[in-house]
Structures are given as C-alpha cells and as structure tokens.
Amino acid sequence: MLELLSDYTLRNVALGSALLGIVSGVLGCFAVLRRQGLLGDALAHAALPGICIAYLLTGSKAPIVLLLGAAASGWLGTLAILQIVKQTRIKEDAALGIVLSVFFATGIVLLTFIARTGHASQAGLDKFLFGQAAALIEEHVITMAILGGLALLVVALLYKEFKALAFDAAFAQSIGLNTNLLSVLLTSLIVVAVVIGLQTVGVVLMAAMLVGPAVAARQWTNRLSVMIGLSALFGALSGVSGAFISISQKNIPTGPMIILSLTLIVLISLFFAPARGLVWEWLQRRRARGNMRVSADLRV
C-alpha cells in the first residue's frame, strides 16, 4: 500500500499535519490558560455551515475559499455566543452548547442538500467532518503555511501582551493594554488555527487538537515559553503520526487517528510526568505514609 503512495503525497501530508499541529499547539496554550477550550469546540462546529455556503456560492473547492467561509461562520458563532451571554440570562456554557448545536445542525443539513443535488465535484465536502489527510494537495499546504506562519508571527510579536492578558486581564487593562483588542486578536488567531486544521482533523474533533497538546505540555513544565514549545511538538507529533497511519490504511479518516495519537501523549503526560503526574503523586503519598508508619513503630 505504502509503495503506491508518491513522494508528493507523503511530503504534503507530513508538512500539512506538522503545520496544523504546531499552530494549534501554540494557540491552544492560550485558549486553555484563558479557559476557552470549549470555545474552540464551538468554533470548529460552527465552521461547517460556512464551508458549505462558500461552496454553494462560488462553486469552488479552492482551499482559500472554503477556509474563508469556515472562518466567517466560526467568527459569527463566537459573536452569537457573546451576544447571548450579554443580552439574555443564559450563561456561557449553555450559550456555547446552543450555538455549537444550531450551527452544526445547519451545516449537516447543507451537506445533505449538496449531496442530494449531485453536484459533480461535491464529493469531498463531507471529508470536513472527520478530516482526510490524503486529500491534502500542495495548494492546501501553502495556504496553511502562510496563514499559520502569520499567526505564529503575531504570537511572537505580542507574546508579553498575550501572557499578561491570559494571567490577569483586569490588571493588564489597568496599565493601559487594550485588552478588548488583544482579546479579539487572540480569538481571531484561534479561528485561524481551527480553520487550518479542519481539512486534516475535521470539524468534529478539532477541539481536541487545541486542548490536548496544551494540557499534555503543562504537565511537564512550569514555564509558559517551554509549555508553548512542548505543545507545538506534541501537536506536530500527533498530527504527523496520525496522518501517516490514516493514509496507509485506506478507509480510516484522519481526524480520529490524529486524536488517538494525541490521546496517548496526553495519557502518558497525565500519568508519568514528574511533579504533576498521577503516578508520581501516588508514589509521594506512599512514601509519606511509609515515613509515618516508621516513626509510629519507633515510638512503640
């Protein structure tokens, strides 16, 4: 099977999935630290109708067209959540659930409509549900590289501002940082990260790509810069390994394979990381209990 795959495909898959892993790893750190992990989930699900509408309006499946559609409806979903929380008594978690479901349901209906009308080139849009790395062509990878590169550049330039915003937004605002602007900017970058990954990981599971690498990375370090670097590494590792397994086994969609690789990394980090790992904590507790027993025996 593998021998049938050209170097071209392998190269695109490797580059594309590494890119998406790095970008969602980096931006996922800020999302998680700001407790906005679920927002990434809503964003990804809300992107589906945008993809369908972009295709219906332009008849084109060019990556930039579909990604713009995804970004637009993703952003619309975020605004909807904000407005619901602001104008009604509905709290953020419920608003998230509502918007995510409504947008996603609309997307599914549109997908079905597109399939029914039997457009010649409609095959491929449903791949956005669970991702298909094999569909990555050079055009996709170039788009991902440009968008991803820009996003990472902005993070590098505004690192101290984003860090201050994530740690203590009230204090940041009091010293004159424009927290509203920074917040909008950061959310936009998360939209970019989500949109880059949609084709490979898919709408349904993209949230895990934002949250997983960051959570795993946090286990290994107490420094933000190291956490971001590790998160990018974990994202890239799971992206590349999952994508390769998926294209070597013909019928497995890519998203689930990437997420399974990521899950392995997260589980290892949760259990075996020093200082924060569950196994380590368990060993510490046993040692402490052992010391108490010894001193109790000595007293007898």
């Binding site: 630290l33 690192y159 101290k160 201050a164 009091s174 107490n222």
Partner: protein
C-alpha cells in the same frame, strides 16, 4: 503648591487632589450598585474603604479604573481623566481574581507591572528586570523570584501582587482586600509598605475588611454602602452614628468595633 516628579519623569501637580470622584453611579442590569458617590481624597493619606458585603467597595475601585462601565459621573486623577493618567495609578486586584496555577514565576508576574511603560512589541529588558527585583526586595521576596507562583503560600502570593504594583512606580495606589487570608509576616510587610509609600508622599486607597485593625493601619476612612455614608479622618468619621448608617442590620457588631476603637483611643 508642590510639584513632585516620579522616577519616570511624569510631572505631578498637586493643584487638584489625587482622586476626585463626582456623582459616580454604577449599575448592573438596571440595578444601581453604587449611587451618586462624591469623594475627594487628599494627597499622602492611607485610606480604608469600609462597608458590609455587597456595599460596592470593589465596584468603586473597578469603576474608577475603568474596568467596569459607569452609568454616570466622572473620575479625575490629579485633575485629569483617568485614561491619560494611567502611569500614575497602581492597582492590586483581589488575590482570588487570578488562577495561581498559571505557568509563571514570581519575578515574571512582578515584571508585568513594568509593561505599561514598555509599549507594543518591545520585550522587557535589564531595566525592567532590575526594577522588578527591587520591588520584590522591598516585599522581602527576593529568595522567591524564580519560584513558580503555584508553590507560593497565600501571603507570598499577596506580596507578589504588591511588588507588581510597586514596580508600576505610581503616585496613587488602589488595593482590593490585600489583608485577606494572609499570615502575620505578610500582614506586617503590607503595613510596612503602606507606611513607606506614605513617607514618599503617595496616596493609598485600600478596600479593607477588618474594622478592628482599620483605625490602626489607616488615617482616613471611606464608609460605603451602595452610597457614600461618610469620608474623612478616622477621628471624626468613625462614629457610632456613621457605622450604624453603614452597617444597618449588622449594627450591633459594628457598635462593638466602635467601642473597641474608642477604648483604644483613650489608652493611646
């Protein structure tokens, strides 16, 4: 008229006081939480803001700093609107407002106090580093500079917050319940800091929860319960009448504090 300059070179005129609040009203969904507050704080005072739960003490500070919108009223810092005077204002938020599991060191947090003067895109350098270390030293936290903030005790975290405000090198400071849940060493460190700031001619406004220690640590008091009840030096303002109007239902406990204060006043 005295003209001071802070170390950042910003000229400070004392022609108008450090804090002038006029008709400040803050509402949450049509319910007023603060109404028509008129307040004028003279320079160099240590001011305690006191009132029952829900009186609007934190709200007052947040509204002054523009962190929450106000329905009416104006705030002047040394005669100018707050937005143009940010460099003169230091802020210590409530300790609980932040997730202390955030991956960062004590020194990093204190350096954030210097960001206001850095500008977009610039990275903090040696000058900010030294300023931050000096602030930590003043709070006795030099040994903890590289420590992760989730490894610090509550009192140490509070001192990190204070060091961050010190690094802002401001002329007027707002502190939101800095004495809550801190150990005796930290409490002494905070009081020493307040006195040191006062010696430098700075003004400090502190939301304080403890009626017993307030007359000891501060020289001015602002009594608040959704409206301004009274403001002024402790001697003339901390009266049983004013406390009754501030605390209403918790009147008896408040009276006890007042009697405590009167007794101490006699023995001083």
């Amino acid at each position: 008229m005295i003209n001071n300059t802070t170390s950042t070179g910003a000229a400070v005129s004392t022609a108008t006081g450090p804090l002038e609040i006029n008709d400040l009203t803050v509402a949450y969904r049509d319910t007023p939480v603060l109404s028509d507050v008129d307040l004028s704080i003279p320079e160099g005072k240590l001011v305690a803001v006191i009132g029952p739960n829900g009186a609007g003490k934190s709200t007052l500070i947040k509204a002054v700093l523009g962190l929450i919108p106000s329905v009416a009223g104006s705030v002047r810092i040394y005669g100018q609107p707050y937005e143009t005077q940010r460099k003169l204002v230091g802020y210590v938020p409530q300790r609980s407002s932040v997730d202390w599991d955030f991956p960062t060191t004590a020194l990093d947090v204190v350096m954030m106090g210097t960001y206001g003067n850095l500008g977009w895109f610039k990275r903090p350098g040696k000058r900010q580093h030294d300023q931050a270390m000096a602030s930590l030293q003043q709070l006795g936290m030099t040994d903890y500079a590289e420590r992760q903030i989730n490894q610090l005790s509550g009192g140490q975290q509070q001192r990190v917050f204070l060091a961050r405000a010190l690094a802002q090198d401001a002329q007027i400071y707002f502190m939101d319940e800095p004495f809550v849940g801190v150990d005796a060493t930290t409490e002494k460190a905070i009081v020493d800091l307040l006195k040191a700031l006062q010696k430098q001619g700075k003004t400090v406004i502190v939301v304080h929860h403890d009626l017993d220690s307030a007359p000891e640590y501060f020289d001015w008091v602002v009594l608040l319960n959704k409206r301004l009840i009274a403001a002024g030096p402790f001697g003339e303002t901390f009266t049983s009448d004013n406390l009754r109007r501030t605390y209403g239902g918790a009147m008896m406990a408040a009276i006890k504090h007042f009697e405590h204060f009167e007794a101490d006043k006699g023995s001083r």
